[in-house]
């Protein structure tokens, strides 16, 4: 997805993990993905560079769809769709 499409996405759950360092955001994402249904969209906010690499890889490995990342001022907005 391009940046414009990501900005216009209707998100079902936002996980704000900006206050934590690795592996905090990954743990928060793992917990939160259990609370949404397959096909729903989750946005993870993280100020951690390592998480910006980790979450896309983790999402793909676990059968979710990584949609893209928006780099905002000082943090990342990472979008994924929950798999079946």
């Amino acid at each position: 997805m391009d940046q414009e499409e990501l900005k216009n996405l209707s998100v079902d759950k936002v996980v704000d993990a900006r206050g934590t360092a690795c592996p905090g955001p990954l743990l928060a994402a793992k917990k939160a993905v259990g609370e949404i249904d397959p096909g729903q969209i989750m946005e993870v906010l993280s100020a951690d560079e390592a998480t910006n690499r980790d979450i896309p890889k983790w999402a793909q490995k676990k059968g979710h769809e990584y949609l893209g990342t928006i780099e905002d001022s000082g943090y990342f907005r990472i979008f994924m769709k929950k798999g079946q």
């Binding site: 934590t20 592996p23 743990l27 983790w58 676990k62």
Partner: protein, 141 residues
């Protein structure tokens, strides 16, 4: 698909290594791995009831003279205390924590009740070796 399995021989009872172990366990739990942790010798002291939430009572394996700065830096980065990683991993995945019988006795812990409630049992080394044989990843920390 069957979950992958990680087995850890956790010998260290020092706060820096326990924190590193906690980070690794968290990553494996987020990956849905089954995790068996066998707490050996020095590690058992850190799992005695009441010790998990008092990192100041534990040593540091490296740069021991900088323990205070290390703990302060972790706090500033909002990194959870080492025991919280273990607790969080147990919530997310099938994580079992066993204390080696000998290790427990060394520190005066004879029964499972003598240890933090996240400890699942006291076992012998045979169980540890069997778990390692069956695991995809094994680590000694």
């Amino acid at each position: 698909m069957e979950n992958k399995k990680m087995t850890i021989g956790l010998f260290s009872g020092s706060v820096d290594r326990l924190t590193a172990a906690g980070v690794l366990i968290s990553g494996a739990a987020a990956d849905d791995m089954d995790i068996d942790i066998f707490v050996l010798l020095q590690g058992a002291r850190a799992f005695l009831k009441g010790m998990g939430d008092t990192p100041e009572k534990l040593g540091m394996s490296e740069n021991s003279e900088m323990k205070e700065e290390f703990l302060e830096s972790l706090k500033k980065l909002n990194v959870m205390p080492w025991m919280e990683f273990f607790r969080a991993a147990k919530e997310l995945a099938n994580v079992k924590i066993y204390v080696c019988g000998l290790a427990g006795k060394v520190w005066g812990g004879e029964k499972v009740e003598d240890f933090d409630e996240i400890v699942d049992g006291i076992v012998g080394i045979g169980e540890c070796i069997t778990s390692m044989e069956e695991s995809d990843i094994h680590l000694f920390i």
